[in-house]
């Protein structure tokens, strides 16, 4: 109980950013859940006489080249874009943590091979690699997720492996071994809980940039295919009509930015909260 109260005290004083981040993310979550109820128009319904209407009272964000309501599409798109990003982060974090832990824990030949692989993957600019994988897999939502995961797991694996190696030499691990814990027990009871907090911080910091990655790749035409109302795809559509209908580009981009900003602020705030120096200052109060 006291811990929870302390947590909120800390929030009040220093963490406007964290609170804002949580609020924005919370709103996004509500939008994702209640999307169908919030849309005023059918996001996929075309009506050619309504095309290129600038933002007005009937269409707050205007309409696109096929007369579809952009606000409704942006709302519907939150489901596509945000779930993609969250899926990528969860899959790659789980994969990376698992591989990193095992690799660091057992060491040896497998560890060496794995870390060389990590080095090679890190030698690529992320997007270039994801694009190359997309060529292999073809376009589509699922393939996009796989492509980014292929690059992203490496980051988590590195952290998890580093932690595992540090832990391996800790005395209480020696002690646990001495009383006969099996490797599986060690991993589950000691290594995993120790690594998970770091991984979670990374996840919270990463979601923002993953949203951007996903959007970039869909913008390039590798993710969800039209007429699916993905934000990246919408901007890519808008690109062709920049002269007459800048709102087609503007609003989906803002949606990406706001959701990425929400996650970034939350991640930043959490990091601040867990930064030992800051925590010390707060605790001594």
């Amino acid at each position: 109980m006291r811990q929870i109260r302390n947590f909120f005290n800390m929030l009040n004083r220093k963490n406007v950013i964290l609170i804002l981040g949580i609020l924005i993310t919370g709103c996004m979550l509500l939008i994702v859940i209640f999307a169908p109820h919030l849309e005023m128009y059918d996001p996929t319904k075309m009506s050619l006489e309504d095309k290129f209407i600038p933002p007005c009272r009937e269409h707050w964000f205007g309409t696109d080249h096929m007369g579809r309501d952009i606000l409704s599409r942006v709302i519907e798109g939150s489901r596509v874009s945000l779930t993609t990003a969250v899926a990528v982060v969860l899959v790659s974090a789980a994969l990376g943590t698992g591989i990193g832990l095992v690799s660091g824990f057992f060491g040896g030949f497998m560890d060496m091979i794995l870390m060389r692989l990590v080095d090679v993957l890190l030698a690529f600019p992320t997007i270039v690699f994801a694009l190359a994988i997309s060529t292999l897999l073809g376009t589509g939502q699922g393939n996009l997720i796989i492509a980014i995961c292929c690059v992203q797991w490496v980051r988590y694996a590195r952290i998890a492996r580093g932690e595992a190696i540090l832990l391996k030499n800790a005395e209480y691990i020696e002690a646990a071994k001495a009383i006969g814990c099996s490797n599986l027990q060690l991993l589950a009871k000691y290594f995993f809980p120790n690594v998970i907090s770091k991984i979670l911080i990374m996840v919270s910091l990463d979601i923002g940039s993953i949203i951007l990655y996903c959007a970039s790749l869909s913008f390039l035409g590798l993710g969800a295919q039209p007429p699916s109302p993905d934000w990246g795809v919408m901007i890519s559509d808008g690109k062709n009509y920049m002269q007459y209908a800048p709102w087609m580009t503007l609003f989906p981009g803002l949606a990406i930015a706001v959701s990425a900003l929400g996650f970034n602020m939350m991640g930043d705030g959490i990091r601040d909260l867990l930064d030992p120096r800051m925590r010390e200052a707060v605790q001594s109060e």
Binding site: R13, A281, S284, E285
Partner: protein, 325 residues
Amino acid sequence: MKDLLQVKDLNVGFLVGKREVQVLRNVSFSIGEGEILGVIGETGCGKSVTGSAVLRLLPENALVKGEILYKGKEILYMEEENYRELRGKEISAIPQSPGTSLNPMMKVGNQVAECITGKEIRKRESVRTAVNDIFRRLQLPGKDRCYGNYPWELSGGMCQRVLIGMGMITHARLLIVDEPTKAIDWALRKEVADILLRLKQEMGCAMMMITHDIGVASYVADRVAVMYCGEIVEVGKTEDILHHPIHPYTRGLIRAMPANGFEVMEGFMPSFSDLPEGCNFCTRCRYRDTVCSRPQEMEEADAGHWVRCRRWGEIIKSREEQLCS
């Protein structure tokens, strides 16, 4: 003896959140020309804060009250730029951790030389000679051998000596030495203490030596001040403090020295935010009485021997009785 440094009623608090935590209360002492004052006490008793206050290195959230006079001149509130002129030249310091106090990207010789070149314009050659001269006097490998080394190429003891070199090369009148033996091997302790003593004899500079090592303090210092919970509880000549301590805390400290039987005091130092009424030591004191719950003043028990304990008379008496029986 003329007073070089006078500290009068120094109060320091730190602003944490919206509350102020008082860490120094009415600290007063003086250091004469060429005198070494040892300031001893446990970790966290406020002795380093006192040193930092004199050097004006307290963090921004510190609230400082009181007076610090150097050669009769107020230095606590003077302009930063004017105080900077004093730093190094008049008041110098030897910091406590040799491992981290040297810039890893700069040759140690240049770091020492900087103390001079930062202050006055001198020929590069003469500065270099001066630095090498200091290194030789500190028994560091001379002849330019050490000058070009980086700090991480030297051992801890050597780094400590480089730091001492920095403190003394400008012939400052007052040297604040913070825990000179903290990060050093037991075996090197006496060596450093000897260097400090020689420094005083050769250059005649005064020192404020902050340490928790009573052995070193008694070896080097002319006078000793004992601090407890942000207050000076006893101050006097080294032999008086060491052989005829009055304040129960001082007596406890001395009894706790390995040479005197390793008898450790009961209890712990209370936290600054949670001090007892009156005498800070009363909760751990075996001479506790009703007067102890009232504020204690410094009283002169003997010539130049001051103590912050109202019951000093009775304590001396009981000590004499103990000796008689």
